[in-house]
Structure formats: structure tokens, C-alpha cells
Symmetry: C2
Subunit: 184 residues, 2 copies
DNA sequence: GTCTATACGAAGATAGAC
DNA sequence: GTCTATCTTCGTATAGAC
């Protein structure tokens, strides 16, 4: 049910997804919602955000453990491209959707912040372990996440994965240069 | 009224903003909505998106006309930082909000796509005019927009402008290098 | 053009039976 | 735990008077 919520949130946003939508998508029984989610829709949104954050974190960590950062970027690019294509460019990132929930539900936004920070940490550590100075490593980690998220949004608007491809190319070049010790 | 809608959309999203909210914020008379916006909320969202796109386009073009691209980035950074700070990190970008409206209102999403493309064009042209090859210029333009939009989202989640600062630093370094003819 | 009143539907949440 | 029924609120949109 949390997974269904995540799938729907990334296509329709948190505000655009009703409890009924989640029930229908997950096949969960109607009467049991407020047993499992005493906090109502807010709690569901928090848990879906956390779930998505952990998914991205695990995927990123696994890719970084296997390959060098540039190769890991490739697997990330492929994953986001398939998410976009398979949804006809309707799906984005759950953490972004949770952030946009913003003022209405601070706890959901805070869950998104934790997901972003964990994601940034695992990237930063990978860069540091490969010899990039800590401050620079953090900047590149932030840039990576921001650029991917922004590119996914642009891809949804323009209904083509091209923005994500261009952004990924630039990111890979930048990271490859940084790994060789260059400034930019 | 379009301006009020834009202000509210960037804080609460399109779905999270009601017609009543716009009326209250703008002080517009209640009975005249469907005279001016026959297409209802959809039309209002389209016009607000177009308005925001033209605003960003004009600001960017003006900054690029006065200074070199790196200096123009500085003015962009300052503008976004003040938007975030002044709203207590509640406000983001109208075009992003319009994109997230997505499947529900294709015409709104298309207006967002046009805004992104116009923005990208003016950046790309500025880079080309300063000697960066066309393909690379376009990639950097896409990266710039994606990274700024992503950084604004991260800033809202984390309630600090720090992500935007780090991303801006990286972007300025990258563009400065590209202007000197380097690869990354 | 602007007003009030209202129709209509959707969504979150709760109550109480099984 | 799960069901049906219902309460309440809210949002879009329309109708008809001024």
C-alpha cells in the first residue's frame, strides 16, 4: 500500500492522489485504512516518502559499490529514463512530490529533506573515497541530485528524455574531470 | 489576478490553490471569474505559467545582455535566494508547479514546456555567442536550468539556501571553464 | 460586469455493525 | 480487521438577479 502510494504520488503528486486512488491501485481493503494509518493521508505520505528515499539510497549505494562513480551515473540515467518512458513521461520523483507538499504538511516535507540528505551523503562519501576534497565532493553531490531532479521535471514537461541525456552527459564529464583532480 | 495565481501556485502548487484563494489574494471581484477566464482554472493556470515564463525569460535575457554569463548567474542566484528566504522556503518555481500538474491538465504542462524551452534557448544562444560549440552550449543550458530548479526544490525541503549556493558555485566554475575552451 | 445563491462532486475522516 | 454508511468540508462551476 505504501508502494502503491509512492507510484501514484510520483505521477499525480501527493495532493492529486486520493485515498481511494491508493486503495484501488493496491487492492487493499477499504475498512482497514485507519487501522494501519492512524495519521491518515499524512502518515501515508510520510511512509511513502521514506520508502522511496530508502529505495534510491540502496540503488545508489549498490551502483557505487560495484563500479566507479561515472559508471554508477550510467545506471542511474538508465533507471530514470525507463521510469519516464514506461509512464509516458508522467512519472517523476516521489521525494520531489513530497517536497512540493510543502507548507501543508511539514512532516512530509521533512521526510523529503531526510531523503535528500541521505542521498547526498552517500554520493559525497563515494567522491571523498576517490580522492575529491570533502567540500568539493559535497558540492558535486548536491549538483548531481539537483541536476537529475531538474532534468526529470524538464523531461516530463517536454515529454522527451533528451534533457536527462544532456544533463547526464555533462555530469559525467564534470565528475570524471574532478576525479582526475581538475577544478571544473 | 494572473500574478496572484502565480504567487500562490509557486507556494502551494496548482492543485493546492483554489479559485477562492486566488480571489482572496488578488482582491478581484468574485462574480467576474468566468467572464475573464472562460476556461476556468485550467486557463488561469496556463496564463500564470506563461506569465512566469516570460518573467524569467526577460530577467535572464536582461542579465545576459549586461554582463558575461558568469555574472548573470550571480544575479540569478541572488534572485532565487531572496525568493526562498522571503517566503520562509515555501516558494519555488511556477513552471515546475505547472509541470507537476502533468497528466491532469496537458495544456498547462505544455505551457511549462514552452517556458523551459524558451529559457534554454536564451541561455544556449548566449553561450554560442561567446564561442562555445552549439551542442555543448545546449547541454550546459539544460544543465543550468535543471540544476537551479533541482536546487530550489532541495532548498525548500531542507529549509536552507545552502543547496542553491553549492549548485551555483559548481555551475559558475563549469561555465567559466567552458568559456575558456575546456571540456568540463 | 459584478453580485448572491446554489448545484454537483470529491475527498478526508469517523461510526458502528459484522 | 474489515465492511458499509455517513458526516463534514471544500472546490469547481453555473444560474439568475442587479
Amino acid at each position: 500500500m505504501v508502494e502503491s502510494a509512492a507510484v501514484l504520488f510520483r505521477e499525480r503528486g501527493v495532493q492529486g492522489t486520493s485515498f481511494n486512488d491508493v486503495l484501488e491501485h493496491s487492492g487493499a481493503p477499504r475498512g482497514s485504512i485507519y487501522h494501519h494509518f492512524r495519521g491518515g493521508k499524512t502518515q501515508l505520505a510520510e511512509e511513502a516518502t521514506q520508502w522511496a528515499g530508502e529505495f534510491i539510497l540502496a540503488s545508489t549505494a549498490a551502483a557505487l559499490a560495484e563500479d566507479d562513480p561515472v559508471a554508477a551515473f550510467e545506471s542511474s540515467r538508465r533507471w530514470w529514463t525507463s521510469v519516464l518512458r514506461d509512464s509516458d513521461y508522467a512519472a517523476g520523483c516521489v521525494i520531489v512530490a513530497a517536497t512540493l507538499e510543502g507548507e501543508r504538511e511539514p512532516s512530509v516535507r521533512d521526510a523529503a529533506a531526510r531523503a535528500f540528505q541521505a542521498w547526498e551523503s552517500v554520493l559525497r562519501d563515494a567522491f571523498v573515497n576517490r580522492g575529491i576534497p570533502a567540500a568539493r565532493a559535497r558540492s558535486i553531490a548536491t549538483l548531481t541530485i539537483a541536476a537529475i531532479e531538474g532534468a526529470v521535471i524538464m523531461a516530463r514537461a517536454e515529454r522527451t528524455a533528451a534533457p536527462l541525456e544532456r544533463v547526464s552527459d555533462e555530469l559525467e564529464t564534470l565528475v570524471a574531470n574532478a576525479l582526475r583532480g581538475e577544478a571544473g
